[in-house]
């Protein structure tokens, strides 16, 4: 199958830690070994990437599961073929609010903060319907049981969320690695209020998805790629330090120290899981909850969006 | 500039206005009405009349820059208003501010099949004619009022047109410069047989230069007098002619 002319795959990614397996595959040359030429393209956000995918500009994508599901309802032929990370989103607080709620936030601490400061706590997240918004609401109203009158949710882009948090315009925000670590290094007052698992068990995160056409045309190459993906996930677990050096070439080269990335890999916000099977029920749960709070109209059939063949074949050997 | 173009077919009307009325805007009253004017090849016609009567307007219609409301205008028997081979001296100098003097003078030549060397030669010749040979490289804003007007004259002269329309060309010039240019103009007219339409507010000048004088007057204006003039430069015939015109204009003076 190693043809003389290698298969070309264009892969899009969002520059977050959860895309680390992709960087390792490319950095270690594992794709080349499998006769695949990779072209990596960075995207600011999932929707832009999905648009590019719908236009046939990229073949695979490392991004959140939500845009993929949405794209399918719009008739775009994409499937999830593997998982990359789960439980990415955490809630970080800063300044007086972090002090006020401490490490074990309760409904009362929220109420007390609102009363003491004469204003509600402002928590930044992404727009309604997005994963961060849904899981944050789940944590606030289902887990901690905060009175909705005591908080104010501010929807914005993910990058703006971090800036707003550091600027003190927000009291807390949903963020993910590597920014969690970076933020904490920059501002010691930043504290984690909830981990991803606390917010929503098995909180769905970043998945590997592919265009149906590509799956049909190059099944072997995809299989090889998923195998490499599994290897990369293992490497991260076994050797976070080594992994962080490779990943740093792609993510924040010259902007971050590899040690920061290593800390992020070891932090509570990174949990790499390649198996896509477990994601299905988690997504279903999440969608049910989204429907319950009215930020989604209906439930999309989730299982159809998953194509387990490549993962199953890869673990079988 | 002083080349004779073809044989001046004396007697043919090169400018022919038939029952023309002219106005600005749609609903405003007309400025000029009932203008019948036939100018023969080679004649030197002066147009006089009070300020605001419509002299410039008439010239603009002849040049094809303004459409007559009614009536027919033909130049060289051609009723199309465009591409008339006329040279025009505007009442304001109207130089292109982004061209140096010599380039301004060449402006009219650029539409003609003339080499750039020849253009330059003719522009320099025309500048010499108006006594501005030293000013070729100046910008228009660096000129005095009279100098600007002379550049405008040079520009029209450089084209060497069959028909020359001049709107108070010597208005801003001192007596001596004016006399020089009047003499030049007479010489050119004599040598080349151009047809010249010459607006002026100076009766002496009209009588001195033209062989036919058209007086505009009234509101709306019309041609009130059309005199053949054969007065020489000085002497009693000249003075009489001027005085008579002055009286006639005064009679029709209104505005």
């Amino acid at each position: 199958s190693r043809a003389a002319d290698p298969v070309k795959l264009e892969i899009g990614y969002i520059p977050i830690l959860a895309a680390a397996p992709l960087f390792i595959i490319d950095g270690q040359g594992w794709a080349k070994d499998a006769g695949i030429t990779l072209k990596l393209t960075r995207f600011e956000s999932g929707p832009h990437a999905i648009q590019a995918m719908a236009a046939g500009q990229i073949d695979l994508l490392y991004a959140g599961v939500a845009p993929v599901l949405v794209a399918r309802t719009k008739g775009v032929d994409v499937s999830v073929i593997a998982n990359s990370a789960v439980e990415e989103m955490v809630v970080a607080a800063r300044g007086p609010f972090a002090k006020a709620v401490g490490t074990t936030p309760t409904a009362d601490t929220f109420k007390k903060f609102a009363a003491d400061n004469g204003r509600k706590a402002k928590i930044g997240t992404q727009p309604p319907g997005s994963v961060p918004d849904t899981v944050l609401k789940h944590w606030l109203f289902k887990v901690v049981k905060v009175n909705p009158a005591d908080v104010e949710l501010v929807p914005m882009g993910i990058e703006k969320t971090q800036q707003a948090l550091l600027a003190g315009a927000l009291d807390a925000a949903t963020i993910r690695e590597p920014t969690v670590t970076v933020t904490q290094q920059m501002d010691p007052s930043v504290a984690l209020l909830a981990t991803g698992a606390q917010m929503f068990p098995d909180q769905p995160g970043t998945v590997v998805s592919a265009r149906g056409e590509v799956l049909k045309k190059n099944p072997e190459a995809i299989g090889a790629l998923i195998k490499a993906h599994l290897r990369a996930v293992e490497l991260i677990a076994k050797d976070p330090a080594g992994a962080s050096k490779i990943v740093n070439e792609y993510l924040g080269k010259g902007l971050l120290e590899p040690s920061t990335l290593e800390a992020a890999f070891r932090g509570p916000g990174s949990k790499f899981v390649a198996d896509p099977h477990g994601v299905v029920p988690a997504v279903e749960n999440m969608m049910n909850y989204a429907k319950e709070i009215g930020s989604a109209d209906g439930v999309i059939p989730v299982a159809e969006a998953f194509d387990f063949r490549f993962y199953d074949a890869a673990v079988a050997k | 500039m002083a080349t004779v173009k073809g044989a001046p077919l004396s007697g043919a009307a090169v400018i022919d206005l038939k029952n023309v009325s002219i106005g600005y805007g749609k609903d405003a009253p007309p400025v000029l009405v009932d203008v019948d004017l036939s100018v023969e090849r080679g004649s030197f016609v002066a147009i006089v009349g009070p300020s605001g009567v419509g002299k410039s307007t008439l010239l603009r219609v002849v040049a094809g820059l303004h459409k007559a409301r009614t009536g027919g205008v033909t130049i060289h028997q051609d009723p199309r208003p465009a591409h008339r081979p006329v040279g025009l001296v505007f009442q304001d100098a109207r130089l292109l501010p982004w061209r140096r003097v010599v380039k301004n003078v060449q402006f009219g030549l650029e539409g003609l099949p003339v080499t750039s060397d020849e253009r330059l030669r003719r522009a320099e010749e025309a500048l010499k004619l108006v006594r501005l040979d030293g000013y070729a490289r100046r910008w228009p804003y660096e000129l005095s009022g009279g100098q600007r007007q002379r550049v405008g004259i040079a520009r029209a002269m450089a084209v060497d047109p069959d028909i020359l329309l001049m709107d108070e060309p010597f208005g801003a010039l001192d007596a001596i410069t004016r006399n020089n240019l009047q003499d030049e103009l007479r010489r050119i007219h004599r040598e080349t047989g151009k047809t010249i339409l010459f607006v002026t507010h100076d009766l002496e000048e009209a009588v001195h230069l033209a062989d036919r004088i058209i007086v505009l007057g009234g509101t709306p204006a019309r041609v009130v007098r059309d005199v053949r003039n054969s007065a020489g430069r000085d002497g009693s015939v000249f003075r009489e002619q001027v005085e008579q015109l002055r009286l006639e204009i005064a009679d029709n003076y209104s505005i």
Partner: protein
């Protein structure tokens, strides 16, 4: 041209444009989820209108837009005039302006957040910023280009003092250029509304961002058409006012 003729031609142009768009959307040469056909807009409008979202978003954006536009235009014209008139001030600020000018709205967002928090004011600030630059440069050039002869006229008639010169000669003389800047700013302001509302301030931009992240392109297009309409009407009105104000030009 007569107004009626020109209106007919405009309608023709718009209809042609819409037909082309519809044809492209239906032909399938582009993925349908990227370009919804214009015929999908009315339905989308009804849904959004019934739920009251449309009205709320339009009202919010309009207020950001108007505040930002007036502020940016006012400051742009003021600073542009000042720089064009006083050589010393111009020289002082020339390079500072060159440093600040190319900073995109996106890069200003942190500052907007810092100074104004996540508030309506922050959005207006960002809009004001882009409008400011366009007006600054247009005014600068227009004031520089005012006929020096007319300024001289002012001095000759005792109107050479700062205030008289400014309001009687410089600004009227620069008006055509200033108005052209204002007009360009009118559109640039709407272009920025979207960017300015991407960080948690509600309005058309936020709704578009939301819809876009859910790939609800028909909603995106609805709001794009909404913006187009709002802009179109304001630009049209502006042109009417302009042709009044400049009726002294032939």
């Amino acid at each position: 041209m007569k107004t009626r003729n020109s209106l007919a031609l405009s309608a023709l142009g718009v209809i042609g444009f819409l037909l082309l768009w519809e044809a492209v959307a239906r032909s399938g040469i582009v993925p349908a989820q990227l370009i919804p056909s214009p015929s999908a807009v009315p339905a989308a409008f009804l849904t959004e209108f019934r739920s009251g979202i449309w009205q709320a978003m339009v009202a919010a954006s309009l207020s950001h837009y108007l505040v930002g536009l007036s502020l940016g235009a006012f400051l742009g014209v003021t600073f542009g005039t000042a720089a064009a008139l006083w050589g010393v001030w111009d020289a002082c600020q020339a390079w500072v302006v060159r440093m600040l000018r190319p900073i995109p709205a996106i890069a200003w967002i942190p500052f907007a957040i810092m100074w104004f928090g996540i508030s309506e004011a922050a959005a207006s600030f960002l809009i004001a910023l882009t409008v400011f630059w366009i007006n600054y440069y247009a005014t600068y050039a227009a004031v520089r280009g005012v006929d020096k002869d007319l300024i001289e006229l002012g001095y000759a008639f005792g109107q050479g003092g700062l205030v008289a010169r400014l309001f009687k000669i410089v600004l009227p003389g620069a008006l055509p250029g200033i108005l052209s800047g204002l007009r360009a700013g009118l559109g640039q302001g709407w272009m920025t509304v979207v960017a300015a509302e991407l960080f948690g301030i509600s309005g058309l931009g936020m709704r578009m961002g939301e819809a876009s992240s859910l790939l609800a392109t028909h909603i995106v297009v609805l709001y794009m058409v909404t913006i187009a309409l709002l802009y179109g009407v304001s630009d049209f009105l502006f042109m009417q006012v302009q042709s009044r104000v400049l009726s002294w030009q032939r």
